[in-house]
Amino acid sequence: MYNFDFVKPASVEDAVAALSGDEAQPLSGGMTLLPSMKQRLNAPATLVSLTGIDALKGVCRDGDMLVIGAATPHAVVARDAAADYPALAELAGQIGDPMVRNRGTIGGSLANNDPSACYPAAALASGATIVTDKREIAAEEFFQGMFATALDEGEIITSVKFPIPQKAAYAKFAQPASRFALTGAFVAQYADGARVAITGASENGVFRWSEAETALSSNFSADALNGLAASADQMIGDLHGTPEYRAHLVGVMTRRAVGAAH
């Protein structure tokens, strides 16, 4: 990788200040950023580590919300969210491998918005709120297509607030090589209806499958999805699967998630 200056502030304020410098970038778990820097696809002048900021870590319940610090590793979410939001904990426990889960963080994953990442599906299906050092952003507005988010330059995620659903589940079909989601469906049932978010499949990144939401809102069962098919338009086609295959998997994974919801 290109060389850079490394700083590791202990507070959000110091991190924000460090990020105001020229070509500074935040580093969370680094599970995606560091490999891309090894390929020299990314050349920050300064990397600002967020892993030394205790205020960004932890999982806590706040009424109907589960609040997760942005620098909380996946392994901690898998453990500490299990009682309050088991589907979210299970999703976290399926990301990468044990070593990746010990380093990678929820904030890093959301800020990167990889079209095959798992967390965006949970955030979108839960109607989560992404809290930054400056503002609160609804998941709906946060995800803006492949690798694009509503974050401004230098803005960092501090926590994510997940409304806890009545029941939910995540069903992931792994890409055979990377084991990212070839297609993943997160289904959550709330008092005001069901939400379905799909990751891995679309060229536009994570999206809500509104037809399925409508069907599930009136009848939260796999049978309610019979006859529903996602369109292959704008689905990703690559060596691991055609757009048609991904569109088919959207249906299969959504059905499986509904069946597994708890």
Partner: protein
Amino acid sequence: MTKVTLTVNGRSMSGQAEGRTLLSSFLREELGLTGTHVGCDTSQCGACVVHVDGQAVKSCTVLAQDVEGANVTTIEGMANADGSLNTLQQAFQDHHGLQCGFCTPGMVMAASSLLAENPKPTEAEVRHYLEGNICRCTGYHNIVKAVMAASGQDVSDTVAAE
């Protein structure tokens, strides 16, 4: 260059690191601990797994400066105090859980984390936990068997070394 000090295998060790110096390079090149291997550059193969403050991490995807002051355990620190193989290492030898030996350090470090978290894993749990460690030689059969045996479970249905 910045001085980085770590406690490695119980000993305080220091060396120089640039911003971009990875923990794997720091261990291998600066501290001379070449047991930690690098088999890929996309954080997939797991040959570089070490423990940082008790947790298994891929040292090729951690910056040396980011773990300043940490407690690091590498494969060189896994044997018993008298130098003999520990239970897990011995099980790898007894059950032929290695061939070329290149993935072995990472495999042992990951498996030891598994057993710390889950002392009596099922075979499926072992296979799932090791998904971040690629071995091209063994076909995994004997690695899984070694980990099961190290956990004190019976693996007598197949041939072991004499």
